[in-house]
């Protein structure tokens, strides 16, 4: 991605980074709406996952394009690696804590083998 700038005119680069920023912000808002709208804790966890992964990635990628090939880009890359490395651990710990505090998954059908019949509660 960083090898591109010299080949492309600045305007194109700006447009690309703007598109990435808009996409990332849109995903962020989608995730937040999902966190507000989804019915129970476990489904909200998935919505929060959207904001943690692709949304953060797109916003930081947009910023990277603006920074060009400098130390700033490397720092942004490190932030991205941190977020992608820590967010599954945090999600997993959240889900585990929810299990231990007996947060019941609303209307989740339970499958033990590969296939199972519909047995929705709630």
């Amino acid at each position: 991605m960083d090898l591109l700038p010299p080949l492309f005119p600045d305007l194109l680069l700006d447009l690309l980074s703007m598109a990435l920023l808009i996409g990332g912000v849109f995903l962020s808002i989608s995730g937040a709406v999902g966190v507000i709208r989804f019915p129970d804790f476990y489904t909200r966890l998935h919505a929060a996952g959207v904001t943690d992964t692709l949304s953060a990635g797109m916003i930081l990628a947009g910023l990277m394009l603006q920074a060009g090939f400098t130390l700033v880009t490397v720092k942004l890359l490190f932030i991205l690696i941190f977020l992608w490395y820590t967010s599954p651990v945090a999600s997993h710990a959240l889900a585990r804590a929810a299990m231990h505090t007996r947060v019941e998954p609303a209307e989740a059908e339970v499958i033990d083998a590969d296939q199972g019949d519909e047995s929705s509660a709630n």
Binding site: R44, L60, L76
Partner: protein
């Protein structure tokens, strides 16, 4: 462009705060706070570009680390309280 992105991230943070207030369980609140934290990291990064001061990225890195460790610590705490309150634990989980 950066200003617009920053405002949108602030909106997202407000929504996360709404979920933190609404609850209903303590895990929902921690989830919201975790999301608030990652959005703060992004906001700091965008703000660094907005004001043309890339030094802010160091703060963003530190914030990402502290946020993660804080969330894990609070979760351990909550989990410990839940486990000690309900002594006879079922085995299915």
């Amino acid at each position: 462009m950066f200003a617009a992105a920053a405002i949108c991230i602030l909106v997202v943070m407000a929504l996360a705060l709404a979920r933190a207030f609404l609850g209903p369980t303590v895990c929902d609140r921690i989830l919201a706070v975790n999301m608030f934290g990652t959005k703060t990291v992004l906001l700091i990064a965008v703000y660094g570009f907005l004001t043309g001061r890339p030094d802010f990225l160091d703060i963003a890195i530190t914030y990402a680390l502290i946020n993660f460790i804080g969330v894990i610590a609070v979760l351990k705490f909550v989990e410990g309280i839940a486990d000690s309150e309900q002594q006879p634990r079922p085995d299915e989980f």
